[in-house]
């Protein structure tokens, strides 16, 4: 799915200008890192992709459909075409690891047999075997993060949005997770990932968009980001 931002600005109700005239285009199947200092507007930009926030000014198109003018009823379909890894995990506290991941599939109406097959596979992929029956409160920070990752990958989404997905992970686990993301990207999923992990970005040699104070401060094509 093609993602287009045209002169997008976001001013939060309290007056904070989080994004300032951002224009950018992300092609189908791209892998894009979103970087920038804390408070630069990465999460804000990401939240607009799945319409958690609406631009104050400007237009956003996803697969040529305007997100700003989208009707309330169309929003669930938009979100279901995406996999989202949240910066603060956003796990359902009353559901176990298994149920949290299964929920994402239930939402799109997946068959129970598919769920039964897919969820354990995902749990194994993110290295949480044995934790299926744990509640999020019984997991370590990194384990919670990986549940969020597994959930986002569950439906093999067209677009994967990852907000700081490795912030609580050690280098080893982090690399494994990145492999999963590259893998899903190779299969055609567009991946947009906000991160602070320079090392990781440098090795990835993918496109990097730099945000600073709400503006695009740099857009480096594959392999050109070396900072």
């Amino acid at each position: 799915m093609l993602i287009q931002f045209y002169n997008v600005s976001k001013i939060y109700p309290n007056g904070v200008k989080a994004l300032n005239d951002v224009s950018l285009k992300i092609d189908r199947g791209e892998f894009v890192f979103l970087m920038g200092p804390s408070g630069a507007g990465k999460s804000t930009l990401i939240k607009m992709l799945f319409r958690e926030e609406i631009p104050t000014r400007g237009q956003i198109f996803i697969a040529s459909r305007s997100i700003v003018r989208m009707k309330r009823k169309e929003i669930p379909a938009l979100r279901r075409s995406m996999g989202i890894i949240f910066q603060d995990f956003k796990l359902l506290e009353n559901k176990t690891v298994y149920e949290n991941i299964a929920f994402a599939m239930e939402v799109i109406g997946a068959k129970p047999s598919d769920i039964k097959y897919r969820v354990p596979e995902l749990i194994k992929m993110v290295g949480l075997k044995g934790k299926e029956r744990c509640f999020p409160g019984e997991l370590s920070g990194g384990e919670q993060q990986r549940v969020g990752i597994a959930r986002a990958l569950a439906n093999q989404p067209l677009v994967l949005i990852a907000d700081e997905p490795t912030g609580n992970l050690d280098v080893g686990t982090s690399n494994e997770i990145m492999e999963l993301l590259y893998d899903i990207n190779r299969k055609g999923t567009t991946v947009i990932m906000a991160t602070h992990a320079r090392e990781l970005v440098r090795h990835a040699r993918k496109r990097v968009i730099m945000l600073e104070k709400g503006r695009v401060a740099g857009d480096y094509p594959d392999g050109e980001f070396l900072a």
Binding site: K90, L92, A104, E106, V107
Partner: protein, 292 residues
């Protein structure tokens, strides 16, 4: 597909009921207490109104027959009275019986002897189908030839009707207020329960769940909680009322209402209200948090 969803929704609902134990307990007990209060109020009202009917049906009209009227004519008057619309029963009390009643009341054993001639008139005691028609019927009787006076406790009866009217107004007002109160209390509890799960709802929406997908399990929860709470209330009410009936018959001179249609309809209504409250309360509260 629909069946699958139904299975999924109820599984979700029951899982959440058992995991949010505090919320479950709070909602059930609130519904239960509200339905108990409502039920007790209705039972009291039903019994009070039953009691008042007894009081009212005691009201009767006494028609005094002129001394000059022939005995044959007296019978005709009786017939005429009994054809009046709304008259239930007509009883002839001869002047002799009247004197005996008076003597009985005075406790004067030789009243009959002391007075020469019996000064009392023959009377008809008339009962109305509906006590409230008594004044109207009395006026009709009064117009009959040969009747020189009609008594039905004028003044007292109006007072009685005034009282029963007010008791009814007050009971209905109280029950309506209580019903509103119950609705509000249950709705508040449900709203608080759902408020403490607002992040869950928010998150579900972010993942792409449709409004109905989120609502259904909540509805089923609301239905279960409301119904169950009301059932507990009805159970307590039925136990208490039955034991009251069993013990009261000896103590209390006036029987409690036991007509099972009335009581059962009350119990059914309470369960119905509980269930409805559970669903509607949930609906309104969930909607508040669905706007994401």
């Amino acid at each position: 597909m629909i069946l699958r969803n139904f299975n999924y929704f109820s599984r979700e609902a029951f899982r959440s009921l058992s995991r949010n134990r505090l919320l479950t307990l709070a909602t059930i007990s609130t519904v239960c207490i509200c339905m108990l209060i409502l039920g007790i109020a209705v039972l009291i009202t039903v019994n009070a109104s039953n009691f008042m009917q007894h009081l009212e049906s005691d009201v009767e009209i006494v028609a005094f027959i002129d001394k000059s009227v022939m005995p044959s004519q007296v019978q005709l008057i009786g017939k005429e009275i009994s054809t009046i619309q709304g008259v239930k029963r007509v009883k002839f009390v001869s002047k002799e019986e009247g004197l005996e009643q008076l003597q009985e009341k005075m406790g004067n054993k030789n009243l009959k002897e002391t007075i020469g001639e019996n000064p009392l008139p023959d009377t008809y005691e008339v009962q109305a189908e509906n006590p409230h028609d008594v004044p109207e019927i009395a006026r009709t009787i009064e117009k009959i030839d040969g009747i020189y006076k009609v008594k039905y406790g004028q003044g007292v009866v109006e007072r009685l009707f005034e009282v029963t009217k007010w008791v009814r107004i007050v009971s209905i007002t109280v029950i309506v207020l209580l019903a509103f109160g119950a609705v509000f209390l249950v709705a508040t509890t449900i709203r608080l329960a759902i408020f403490s799960r607002r992040k869950e709802i928010y998150l579900m929406k972010l993942i792409g769940a449709t409004d109905w997908f989120i609502r259904w399990p909540f509805f089923i929860e609301g239905l279960v909680l409301g119904t169950f709470g009301a059932l507990v209330a009805v159970g307590i009410l039925a136990l208490a009322y039955n034991s009251l009936i069993n013990n009261m018959q000896m103590v209390f001179f006036l029987p409690l209402v036991v007509k099972s249609e009335v009581i059962n309809r009350l119990y059914l209504s309470l369960v119905g209200i509980g269930a409805l409250l559970g669903i509607v309360g949930t609906f309104i509260s969930v909607n508040r948090f669905l706007k994401v």
